[in-house]
């Protein structure tokens, strides 16, 4: 079963390729499941069609952890588990894999490693920073993706226990604070480097503007820094027009 697992693993890199508001990752999961269901196609074509339909149905989770659900649900297709139970398993995994994956990658590893890259940049080694970021992020991502698919495939229906007892909860507990600490260090250091690069005389103005933008984003949750700058740009051009 090594070759189909590898093919499914490679397909997981495009698991969000058909992301839609209708089935979210569902089609990508179905496409990734096809190599794993190949054996079923030969032995039981009717069960195969039912499995393809189930695996392509609605699914949503953090994409790098989707392999865990994919492995478990396709394995269950071979274990004679009733279809409605497999569908329930997929639905039940959406929440935990989404929450754990988001905290692990999107609010943990990504800001942590990006902050490290920004610190390298501010220290004058931007290329090293970018390379360290890409190698570490993708190294961990690929390892987790492979672990998830493999573990899911080995455990099938009892994958819930794997999620509960895995290293993920521990990792989430420390990576969040580590990411927050790294962002805390990186923002002022990067800001100071940027001001030095652009014009040191702008330091005080930049600090004041950052404070103003921060207050604006806290007062109105819809006001992001991006929107703040776009509104500010209009005001700058109006001011220039008045001056002219």
């Amino acid at each position: 079963m090594k070759a189909p697992l590898w093919r499914a693993f490679l397909r997981l890199f495009a698991v969000q390729g058909a992301w839609s508001y209708e089935r979210m990752l569902g089609i990508g999961m179905g496409y990734s499941a096809l190599p794993l269901l190949e054996e079923l196609r030969r032995t039981d074509p009717v069960a195969y069609r039912a499995a393809v339909a189930r695996q392509s149905d609605f699914f949503n989770s953090q994409p790098y952890l989707a392999g865990l659900a994919l492995g478990a649900a396709t394995r269950a297709e071979y274990q004679g588990v009733p279809g409605h139970k497999i569908a329930r398993l997929r639905t039940a995994l959406c929440g935990p894999l989404g929450a754990l994956g988001d905290q692990l990658f999107w609010t943990g590893l990504l800001p942590l490693l990006m902050s490290v890259a920004l610190l390298f940049t501010a220290a004058g080694w931007p290329l090293i920073g970018v390379i360290v970021f890409l190698v570490m992020f993708n190294g961990i991502r690929v390892a987790v993706e492979w672990w998830g698919l493999h573990r899911g495939w080995r455990t099938g229906l009892s994958v819930g226990m794997v999620v509960q007892r895995s290293w993920m909860s521990t990792a989430v507990a420390w990576i969040g604070p580590a990411a927050a600490f790294a962002v805390g260090v990186a923002v002022p250091v990067t800001g100071a480097w940027l001001v030095r690069t652009v014009a040191p005389s702008l330091a005080l103005g930049t600090i004041g503007m950052a404070g103003l933008a921060l207050v604006a984003t806290r007062v109105d949750p819809r006001m992001t820094a991006l929107r703040f700058v776009l509104v500010g740009t209009v005001l700058v051009f109006l001011w220039l027009g008045v001056r002219a």
């Binding site: 495009a14 969000q16 390729g17 058909a18 839609s20 508001y21 209708e22 979210m24 990508g28 069609r49 039912a50 499995a51 393809v52 339909a53 189930r54 392509s56 953090q62 988001d102 609010t107 800001p111 990006m114 920004l118 931007p126 890409l134 604070p177 990411a179 927050a180 600490f181 790294a182 962002v183 805390g184 260090v185 990186a186 923002v187 002022p188 250091v189 800001g191 940027l194 001001v195 652009v198 014009a199 702008l202 503007m209 950052a210 933008a213 921060l214 604006a216 984003t217 992001t224 820094a225 991006l226 703040f228 700058v229 776009l230 500010g232 740009t233 700058v236 051009f237 001011w239 220039l240």
Partner: protein, 226 residues
């Protein structure tokens, strides 16, 4: 001054398409992150310093939004390529403000285009509901590849538009000194707020204490380096 030759523009167009595709569809290796996209664009256009600076500023903005699931978030890939092309070969103090503002506009447009793509993909899925319900693997493959194809079209169209916008802004007369100083202060201040705001929005309690501790250390490092 950087000369925008056809070969250079072709290279940037391919790179902008690649980073557009990388955001969600394939292979999501984080090439679309502004610091990565900006540094590589800087290497392509021959102004690494500006590429890194514009990439770092846009990265701080990008740290504010989480590229999670159904949330609508800006697409900074092609936007960063355009920002670097806009200001490459010019002093950062003159070029950074306008370049980043153009990048932010394009990032917003990219986010909107991604949302539209997802609606179009949903329509394609609805059209094949019966085939999918019968477990037809051909239908699954067809929807998957046509959706990927649509994202290639979206990313390349966004890339072409971004490059056209960058070339247009490059041709415009330079702002007066007060204008580019004002824009620089605005984008740098906004970027710092974006970086902090993203961390504040994604956690409470312990996380906030660690953010504060990191901030203190960051300020000490900044003071020592000054």
């Amino acid at each position: 001054m950087i000369e925008a030759t056809p070969v250079l523009l072709a290279g940037l167009f391919v790179w902008a398409t690649v980073v557009g595709l990388d955001l969600v569809s394939l292979p999501q290796v984080m090439a679309s992150r502004p610091l990565v996209a900006g540094t590589v664009t800087g290497i392509i256009v021959g102004d690494v310093q500006f590429g890194v600076a514009a990439g770092a500023v846009l990265e701080l903005f990008a740290m504010e939004s989480l590229a999670i699931g159904a949330a609508r978030y800006p697409d900074y890939g092609a936007a960063t390529v355009a920002a670097v092309l806009t200001g490459a070969g010019r002093p950062p103090v003159e070029a950074l403000g306008a370049a980043v503002v153009l990048g932010l506009l394009l990032a917003g447009l990219g986010g909107w285009s991604l949302s539209r793509l997802r609606h179009v993909n949903a329509t394609a899925v609805r059209r094949r509901t019966a085939s999918l319900a019968s477990g037809d693997p051909v239908a699954v493959r067809a929807i998957h590849f046509s959706s990927l194809g649509r994202d290639v079209i979206r990313s390349s169209a966004l890339g072409a538009l971004a490059l056209a916008a960058a070339l247009t802004v490059r041709q415009m007369p330079s702002l007066p000194e007060a204008g580019h100083m004002g824009l620089s202060v605005l984008v740098l201040g906004g970027a710092l707020a974006g970086g902090v705001s993203g961390a504040v929005r994604s956690g409470r309690g312990t996380r906030m204490r660690w953010l504060g501790a990191g901030g203190v250390l960051g300020l000490i490092i900044t003071a020592v380096m000054a």
